[in-house]
């Protein structure tokens, strides 16, 4: 990572300097505002670096300016580089990287809404997080925003991108849907049954979770993290805990590392089971759906027995885990996992034998590799389109370094590939759980808690069932949490659906959507 810093310095001169407070794997570099475009272009274009996400923080108290951070991951080494640029309050403009990195689109629009910074040259400057009833000039993520005040609602109009032509009509769907799901609006422009354009409008459940985390104690923050996205509770909590542990310089005991792997994989198992069930259900093959939901239920019951909660809440603690798997539990756990695996095997075999189901999923909702890469797609969705990336392997955390597993990658990018990726990952998860249980060393569950250090920032990350999930935490002079950034996989993958549905027909949308199965809560935060 030092090499990357040196390369940057050599290229752009002494205006660039390394900041204190980084770790071996996370290097912080300060760049001037004018150099943002050049350095970002240099890192993504010429070096094997990938822009993971970008965000702003209100650091006016510490640095007399806002800070913009660009997080890059090295695609060949286990390291991250974080570029930081200061944006002065009296001239709150920063250059948009969206024109050459379209994946930044939603993120830059979010920064505009929450911080009042202006992205110059942003192709689509409409507001994203706030809807038309939110008055202009109120930026809740600024430190001087009074969160108790009542914001008067105003009237306004949101302009959807229009497709015009003969026979084109718009289908508005949501934000209230049939069935028990979260709110989100989908605007289709279709010619007959084929979809010409889809525009997604979310953030109906924006709760300001990140803001709510500011000033909270680490254990309180973990509680909040568990509630970001219900079915990914453990992933979010684990990512948050890792960031906090880096901040407090806590070493997690080895047994806890292995237990974290087991719980993370248990979470992946029940998520993937329900995703595959959902695909089967939306294709109206209810046999497969109900059988897989049955397996999901057995997994949730295992969770309940091992952890006390069905969705693995309250398991993770700062510095380790709270729940152990004892020898007696282990035997029963292994037997049950084996039984679920056998059942899963036979259900999947049946699924592939149902021609009408295979016909529905084959070639439906294709995401091309270029689209997935350009929009920074993550997780099973990206892997189904041929993007070979998985944090567990590329940037190992917990005990993944000591375990062997495959990362399934398929090329076609259709619903079938996404289903195949998830099926393969289920098998890998079974294997990981089995191996982790057997190689897990004896030892303590949790390190002693230590206070988090002041004026530091750290990144925690987990490959959640939906893809890579990042938590960024920064502390102020008193060692209080001053910025908590949650980068959830759903936020990245929602825009991909807009491309996946093109050239498909309207009645296939639910199936395509289900094969992504993204979280609204994780997206809106």
């Amino acid at each position: 990572m030092k090499m990357v810093c040196e390369a940057l310095k050599e290229k752009f001169g002494n205006t660039i300097r390394e900041l204190e407070g980084g770790t071996e794997k996370q290097c912080h570099v300060l760049i001037p505002r004018d150099a943002i475009l050049k350095t970002v272009g240099f890192l993504t274009g010429l070096l094997p670096m990938r822009l993971v996400f970008l965000f702003a923080s209100d650091t006016r108290k510490e640095n007399k300016a806002f800070t913009l951070s660009y997080v890059f991951s090295h695609t060949q080494q286990d390291s991250f580089i974080i570029l930081e640029a200061r944006i002065p309050e009296n001239d709150p403009v920063f250059p948009s990287v969206t024109p050459f990195l379209p994946q930044a689109n939603w993120q830059e629009r979010e920064i505009q809404d929450l911080f009042g910074l202006v992205a110059g040259n942003l192709p689509d400057p409409r507001s994203l997080v706030f809807h038309e009833d939110w008055p202009r000039g109120h930026f809740p993520f600024k430190k001087d925003f009074q969160s108790q005040q009542k914001i008067p609602r105003v009237s306004g109009q949101y302009i959807f991108e229009r497709v015009e032509g003969e026979g084109i009509f718009e289908i508005p769907v949501g934000p209230v849907h049939a069935g028990i799901i979260e709110p989100g609006h989908f605007r289709f422009s279709s010619a007959g049954e084929s979809i010409v354009k889809l525009e997604i409008r979310h953030f109906y459940t924006h709760k300001g979770t990140e803001k709510a985390g500011e000033g909270k104690s680490p254990s309180h923050l973990l509680c909040l993290a568990e509630r970001i996205s219900g079915d990914n509770s453990f992933s979010h909590a684990a990512a948050c805990a890792q960031a906090l542990e880096t901040l407090a310089d806590i070493q997690v005991p080895e047994r806890a590392q292995f237990l974290r792997v087991i719980f993370l994989e248990l979470e992946r198992l029940h998520n993937h089971m329900s995703d595959i069930a959902g695909i089967s259900l939306d294709a109206a093959f209810s046999f497969g759906a109900s059988q897989l939901m049955r397996l999901k239920e057995s997994l949730l019951r295992i969770n309940e027995r091992l952890a006390g909660t069905r969705l693995l809440r309250n398991v993770i603690a700062l510095g380790g885990v709270r729940k152990d798997i004892s020898g007696v539990q282990k035997q029963r756990f292994l037997e049950e996992i084996q039984k679920i695996k056998t059942d899963f095997d036979s259900i999947i075999q049946i699924l592939w034998q149902v021609d009408s189901l295979v016909d529905r999923i084959e070639g439906t909702g294709q995401v091309k590799k270029e689209v997935a890469e350009t929009l920074g797609g993550v997780g099973p969705v990206a892997r189904a389109s041929g993007v070979d990336q998985d944090l567990r392997r590329d940037h190992p955390y917990a005990a993944y370094k000591e375990l062997f597993f495959m990362v399934p990658v398929f090329k076609e990018g259709d619903v079938e590939s996404r289903m195949k990726v998830k099926i393969q990952e289920v098998y890998e998860s079974f294997k990981l759980i089995y191996d982790a249980l057997h190689t897990m060393p004896e030892g303590p569950l949790c390190s002693e808690a230590r206070p988090i250090l002041p004026l530091k920032s750290a990144l925690g990350y987990v490959e959640s069932p939906r893809g890579e999930c990042f938590h960024w935490i920064a502390t102020d002079r008193e060692g209080k949490i001053t910025r908590w950034k949650i980068h959830s996989p759903s936020f990245v993958n929602w825009p991909l659906i807009q491309y996946a549905v093109l050239e498909n027909i309207v009645p296939d949308f639910p199936l395509i959507n289900k094969s992504f199965n993204l979280s609204y809560a994780g997206n809106d935060r």
Binding site: V173, S286, F287
Partner: protein
Amino acid sequence: MISIFFACAKVLFLMALAPLLSWFIKKMKAISQNRVGPSPVQVYTDLWKLFHKDMVISEAASWIFHAMPFVLFASVLSAASLTPVSGAVSLFGFTGDVIVFVYLLALGRFFLTLAALDTGTTFGGMGSSREMTLSSLAEPALLLSFFSLSFRTQSLSLDGIVSYFSWQSPIQILFFTSLAFGALLIVTIAESGRIPMDNPATHLELTMIHEAMILEYSGRYLALIEWSHQIKQIIFLTLLANLFFPWNFSGMSGFAAFGVGIGLYLLKIFFLAFVIGWIEIHSAKLRLFRAPDLLAVAFVLAVLSLLGQLIIGRGV
């Protein structure tokens, strides 16, 4: 006089039995999914509940919206009165009732699609357009398969067709009607909105056909629509049962014959419902643009059946 009484009783019988048949398929699906499933009373109490609920009606609704449930129900009941059930003659049986039968159903469908457009909601319009696309393919297949049977029996009345075949040997029936049976089975699946054509259990508006059209309905109107849909389903199953397995119209007389007739009839329609349920359990829903292919198969079967009768001629 007594025959009119019997014919009326027959229609009432179909009305009463229709929900039970829906229950049977629901129960089958439930068992396939390791669920307990509803009790037979449930389907009736559901209708009862809907009949006693208040209605929420869109302000944009015109008279078509209000008239549709009644037109649909009446048209389906009229079609039921043309359907030969067991022994007794149909209430309105006359020469040419095959064509009336098909267009009575079309009348109901016409109002159904119109009413779906009436309130101006997106899903209603989508449902209407899909329903019309599919039924414009199902209707010719239905008519042609009737015609092929009519050609054989020299009768355009459903009663006539049934009574002709009930005197034939099973081999002959199998020989002359199997193609038409295939066509009619596919049309039955399409008309009763079952998988693989449509999914009656889905909550996904974007994929709906029949359900999308009735999303705006509630209370009494919805009850009428649901009930007509169930009656339509039983009519088609009855037709399949009696046109292609017609062996209960011969022999005995009096109450014994009546009892045996009803028993056999029940056995046949529940067997056919089992077939429909079996297909539903074992397949996913077709992609919307593949559904016309299946209906095209029905059409081809019907044409082949008609051609077959033409080539072989009546003398055999």
